[in-house]
Symmetry: D3
Subunit: 236 residues, 6 copies
């Protein structure tokens, strides 16, 4: 039973610098969803960008086998990443690149690793929100070492899910809400409120333009709060 208001986020904690070795990192907790994100700086750009003067930001995503209620097979043991995993890591990379000036980054690559320690819905959106914090730390590191001189980040970026649960539009679904939602949508937006990515899916009956507009409104509110949390965590 949801005890939050329909437009209320779960408790959010962002712990920057959680990992000792990485250039940037963040432990994100959105309720019982816990994701450890690291940003690793590599001094080469992917081959398709060599000589372009541009860098790249990419993401990988994984879940510990018992992050979920029932143990899932370890992808390394299965010998491949599932379609779901690949879809999520493509989304995270695309979302973060939307606020990066790849030319200012230079011919480098930042790899964002998002590993879900515990899952309770919304792991992909938590990864994006926390991924921004880890990325910002890595950029700060590069500034300190003089590797970059121009601003690399054009804006904040954060993400949230919304859905229609038991006939009512709600913000930030946990796992039990996600499982019963008739419509489920993920939104990625910048700090300035620009849309970066929209993914809406009818799990049951098709949805209407009006329902979708309501979800978009909820997301806009939630993402505003998440960006405020990011600023606080980064001391901006």
């Amino acid at each position: 039973m949801r005890e939050r208001a329909p437009d209320q986020l779960r408790d959010i904690t962002l712990v920057p610098g959680f990992a000792k070795h990485a250039e940037g990192s963040c432990l994100v907790k959105c309720g019982d969803t816990h994701v450890l994100v690291t940003a690793s700086l590599e001094e080469t750009t992917p081959s398709f960008l060599r000589g372009s003067g541009k860098g790249w930001v990419t993401a990988e995503y994984g879940m510990l086998p018992r992050a979920t209620n029932t143990r899932m097979r370890r992808e390394a043991a299965a010998g491949k990443q599932s379609g779901r995993t690949q879809e999520i890591q493509r989304l995270i990379g695309r979302s973060l690149r939307a606020v990066v000036d790849l030319a200012a980054l230079g011919e480098r690559q930042i790899i964002i690793d998002c590993d879900v320690l515990q899952a309770d819905g919304g792991t992909r959106t938590a990864s994006i929100t926390g991924g921004y914090v880890a990325l910002a730390q890595a950029v700060k590191f590069m500034k300190m070492t003089g590797a970059v001189t121009k601003p690399v980040l054009k804006d904040h970026v954060a993400a949230i899910s919304c859905g229609i649960v038991a006939g009512k539009p709600v913000l930030d679904l946990d796992y039990s809400e996600d499982s019963t939602a008739l419509t489920d949508a993920n939104f990625v937006m910048t700090g300035a409120g620009g849309l970066v990515e929209i993914q809406g899916t009818a799990e049951g009956a098709p949805f209407s333009d009006e329902e979708f507009a309501t979800l978009l409104g909820l997301a806009r509110k939630g993402i505003g709060e998440l960006v405020a949390k990011q600023k606080e965590a980064l001391g901006e």
Copy 2:
């Protein structure tokens, strides 16, 4: 250079029954994008549905290596399907299931194979539009053989892409438009106009709610025309 009006579809051809062996099939041509879709009926349902009385519809997607301007490596030779391929086939399956009464289908599976013979943008939306035709043929086949007695299909479903190209919202992007679009969105809707899936991505700058609403309007017009084409092809 686009010679069509901004809200005009490319020429569409739907050829049902194109394949000799399959229970349902359709060759879809959307301009220079040609996809061969087959629907294969199998008399077992996936293991997670055994004993539930319900069936399943799933999709697989592939591109011939030289469907594109530059030859791409054959996925069978590479030993795995790319993340893009998996993302697309999950989308196609989800979209078609949205109009299927899985209980009326019974403990069977229909596999929709979408193979791109020639690509010029919009292969995933063409696969959905043509996939519906192949699926409808397979359902007709099952009715004839008495395998199903209740209606299996709840509505039509079709899909189209829209985008903002050179600052202008346009319907049904070909490859050169898709490559230069700042915002790119795929829409899946039912015959009754219900939304099944929305995927919008900012390739360049973020987009606004208003821009997105315009794209949605264009899609609604286009999908209406596609559903009409489906009805014509199926002789409804």
Copy 3:
């Protein structure tokens, strides 16, 4: 029931230039067997030929999952090509290279992709016969662009199957004949009638020298007709 004479080919159609993007292509129809062949030119030769001044011609082969009466698992999804697929693509490559002057080709590679859209027996021989047409188109393209100046093709090459069905030697087996043939042989020959490849297999009882000689005679007649079709298609 075979309605053709024992030494009669199925209806053959060769459609050169079927694919928009490839340097050479051909849709081959031998009765109900339909193969789409493309020839892709790449400006690098395999590593074992670097610095030799010679080029290479190689082939890849695939079947759409529902090209056959019963759906077969997609090789890209299975994660590997079957032994049968590899055997066939090695045969196609070897057969086409038999008529190519690799030095005249120069340090380039032509990849012949043979994708079976619909199968009714004889897909490997149809791939060779149509592969020659796609290859010839690609060579013509290279001549036009000045990439090659000396003749690259030394002769035509085509292929056909023969077998002993219900005790009688017949030419060009369709699937039902192939399934019941006691002896089954594939022959590859040049336009001048030289033998390039012979593969004969006893599916039931062993066969005699005389039986084999009869099959070779049938093949010689059929390949002569196929070469004539190739010349016609290429406007020679």
Copy 4:
């Protein structure tokens, strides 16, 4: 520079019940080495034990890509587990099974997942020490539910590494010590002091029986302390 005495362990923290979903879990911190261990109960035994009345305990091991100073390739993306990973997970499983009464467990399986969040040497021994705690929790869970009635655990089990660093035998190597050790050994012992597993390797010059005996003595002291920590964590 080592600031601990040669026979002193790093600071150890064992946090049982760290993971929400698992039947047993433990976060182990040995200095800067942090491993999250979960114990998952499955109600089937592996096929080689079906009908034997016995259960099984097995382990899987993984490292987050940036657990280390330099990012390592994600094994799920690489498509296979390295030889090192497999060796480690076989060792963990074997060590834990040494104190389990498989008949008392019954035809069930407990999977111990050890995921290294941060690495600074000794990840495999930390996994065993923490693995015991997670396993003991899962056994307690089974007792509560009545799934088992007889004692399943015969004793404690814990592990530690020792080595000869700069000519001196020391207990509990961190990464920098491990990298420079001439001899490196891992010891697994029970609470009663019985030897379960010994693995000693000469990284530089061969070692003598006396040197090895000294390492064994250090390990005995360290494992005694680790077992005391386990008891404290489990409230025994």
Copy 5:
């Protein structure tokens, strides 16, 4: 330089019972080509034959990495069998099945493993010739245990290569001959002289019907001698 007559086999040794554990085995030496063949009896037939009353004979083939002059990558390490390996093992299985009464074998499977210890040309034909001996031993074993009562083997089967080397047709090519042969053919025949498999390939110029007939004649002579060796080895 060949020191044998053109129609002379290399020295052949067949050592039945070479392997301790297998139901049948044979070490075959054809000159410097040494193959260890084992026949393993399994009491289940492949799934496509369950309930048919029939058994199966299949083959696997491998080469030790340094069986050849230059070390080749181990296929187990590469993670897959090459196309060449699969082609060879399919040929061996087909050839042996040609003389097996699968109904008399009953619902069992015999797996013929052919592992090349040392290679000097003709490994696939040596595998067939030696494979027959291992198979015959396994059949004898089944007779002794009463597992089969009717004759399982209908005839002998053996294989040899021939080729045109330096303009001259020769029997039983070693590696240096095989590398320079313009035409290269493998023949499989029964003890009664029936043809089971013919594979002829033009490595250089195409070959004529007459050349091919000469090679067939050579093969017939060589296979006669091989069958005599098999009988001697089996004490028939």
Copy 6:
């Protein structure tokens, strides 16, 4: 039933130069365990050593499918090497490198392939003992060709297993002893008696320091005899 004395090795045969093509080779027979080892010289060092002036020695291990009493699946067909295989080949490589002066070897690599033709316990230790002989032959070959001028091998190295069987410590376990041993240990030592690797495992009850010391004493005796056999085989 063991007919040897508790401290007696099985009959050992070392046949250097068994393989025609390799720079070094040895067929090792320890009772019914037969391993064919080859040493292949490659004129490049692994990438992590490029420019260091140092070479590398590595090992690969495999078993013929029917080396064992029950046929095991071919690893090349399974598509990967088991954890056991990888563990063994890592041990063999580490053990041999312990006596190699990698700088004296220069930027080259020697690959030791150990293929078990027949297994009856102790295949990994036999591989090390025989691997040294093959390696020594390859080093001799390099001296002859002038590739190396300084001594490459610092000492001999050999290996043996010991265990506690039916309550009694014994040397050199065969398969039936290994299966019933309560404690099982592998030891690798140099000719001078230095310890290179120790691996002890409690298969049943934990073992004591004293028991382990007894096994170490047995191993020391056995390895002394194996080193004498190596010297004899190499004519030292």
